[in-house]
């Protein structure tokens, strides 16, 4: 087994089919499903939580994603075969794991104007008044599927297709930290100033990335998120994010 490049394992339990896919000599991807759905999400969370409390010797870190959890390991201390054996033992037991109630996190957002320069475009594209775009965006509950792409960036699921809008034809050179945007049928929040092609509809005064805190992020995978519309005055009343980079 250990000599094969692509180990394929399927379980016969009630779990969705899952597979172990090696990523080189120091990581394995545990693919727990092929599409985004509740069962796969719950299994990803269950494995991630289990690992947090029961890591095996040689475990380095994990990256939970939409349908997989990647495990980094120290191959000086543990072999691929041993890592696979551990996963094969653990994954079938995961359905019994209790994940606990999700956190509900509110994100204040000042919509439109200079905080969300593309709100008008999103409204026009969907033939809705801008206020209706805001109402739809702020009246849904979103699930943080995973963090990635940049520190603290949440991949949110649950946006209404009624406000879906394609990315901008050419990306902006800089998007301010806290910007809330739409790309296709996804919505997201930029934790850091960065270039990007998302349609910007608003901005939050909250810092999603907090390097001096542990964990260094405001949102975590599994959280439920609701947006709350705030005024520009309220936005400015939030404490200004300090310089956190370094000395």
């Amino acid at each position: 087994m250990s000599s094969s490049h692509q180990t394929l394992r399927s379980s016969t339990t009630t779990q969705p089919k899952w597979r172990i896919l090696p990523l080189g000599d120091s990581a394995v991807i545990v693919r727990l499903g092929n599409e985004i759905n509740r069962a796969t999400f719950d299994t990803v969370r269950a494995l991630a939580q289990y690992l947090e409390h029961n890591a095996f010797p040689g475990f380095v870190e994990q990256v939970p994603a939409f349908v997989s959890v990647t495990l980094y390991y120290d191959s000086r201390r543990i072999s691929l075969a041993e890592v696979c054996a551990w996963i094969e033992h653990v994954v079938p037991t995961l359905s019994q794991q209790v994940a606990g109630a999700p956190r509900l996190v509110e994100i204040p957002v000042c919509y439109g104007g200079r905080f969300g320069e593309d709100l008008e475009f999103v409204a026009q594209h969907n033939k809705l008044p801008p206020g209706e775009v805001v109402r739809i965006h702020a009246n849904a509950t979103y699930l943080v599927h995973m963090l990635g792409f940049m520190p603290g960036f949440p991949y949110l699921g649950g946006m209404s297709d009624r406000i879906a809008t394609p990315r901008r034809p050419s990306p902006r050179v800089t998007i301010p930290a806290g910007s809330v945007g739409i790309a296709g049928s996804q919505t997201g929040i930029y934790p850091l100033e960065s270039p990007g092609g998302w349609q910007l509809i608003g901005r939050t005064p909250l810092m999603l990335f907090r390097p001096n805190e542990n964990p260094p992020v405001y949102l975590r995978a599994g959280d439920l998120v609701r947006f709350r519309a705030i005024s520009a005055d309220e936005f400015h009343a939030y404490p200004k994010a300090g310089s956190w980079g370094s000395a």
Binding site: S2, S3, H5, Q6, L21, P22, L23, G24, D25, S26, A27, I29, R31, E35, I36, A48, V60, E61, Q62, V63, P64, A65, F66, V67, S68, T70, Y72, S75, R76, S79, L80, M146, L147, G148, F149, M150, P151, G152, F153, Y155, P191, L192, S194, F209, P211, P215, P216, V217, R220, A221, G245, S246, A247
Partner: protein
Amino acid sequence: MGFRVIHPGVLTSVQDLGRRGLQQYGVVVSGAMDPLALRVANILVGNDEHAAALETTLLGPEVEFLDEALIAVCGGELPASIDGQFVPSWRAVWIAAGAVLRIGKAIAGCRAYLAIAGGIDVPVVMGSRSTYLRAKMGGLAGRALRVKDQLATGPLSMRNNEIIQRLSARAKGRSFAVGRWFPTISMAYEANISTIRAMRSSECDWLSPESQQHLFSASYALTKESDRMGFRLSGPKLMLTNSGELLSEAVCMGTIQIPPGGQPIILMADCATTGGYAKAAQVATVDLSRLAQIAPGAKFRIQEISINEAQRMYRDQEAMLNKLRHAATLIE
């Protein structure tokens, strides 16, 4: 204890072995592009292997030491000199207060590491002193070094002091003294790296059979659009047999991605924690350091190896480093 930057070189930044354990929050690992050179440089001066050092690219910096120091330059062949006199790489070098170290232009390889006894003392951000340039985080104010920057080094260990005493006794009035011993690991770096070893990865079979063959046999050039985030390759176009869209999941340094355009990208030290392109292959851990020494414009092939082979080579390398660590405490 510290040094002052007279000239920063092309791109010089503070790096250690990177930020681990926070990738699940999207925090990028960063750290040395050539971790082997960084570790050996630290071992030579008696530092902990994780100590922060300077990583320099293509053309090195010129720095003035404000106090006496113990240094080692390892990695690609970027010739170093002190007060105009050549000093060999891969050796511990004692340097007097006021002396000027210059790391020149790369003759072979691409990146060199300047380790200094005590390590470079910048604040620890999320467990590491590494600079993550894109987020302006870690290192010296989250940026590359500039003219007139002044950097401090950390407290010296007994081991640091032992080596300093032995070497400074040999200086006899000169502004530097070079250790006699050097590690054979320096020979792991060929002047022209022609092959990088990699293992097939999860979406390799998304490539047509012909493209899979190309990936593991054709010659690819490293383009100028290559940096600490990733190396863009140019060579035979690889054909994906499906849309090439993947639900984002973990990627890391050494992941060979195939975007729809068909030209491979090898992710490097500052890559994002997750990605959605097909992962065709993964560079062997032991070859990440060699990969980091390939300069833009150079050509190389990707050679397929098994995970078992890659893990065996990794353990062999670590055994060699263990010997080196042991030898370094005995000799001088």
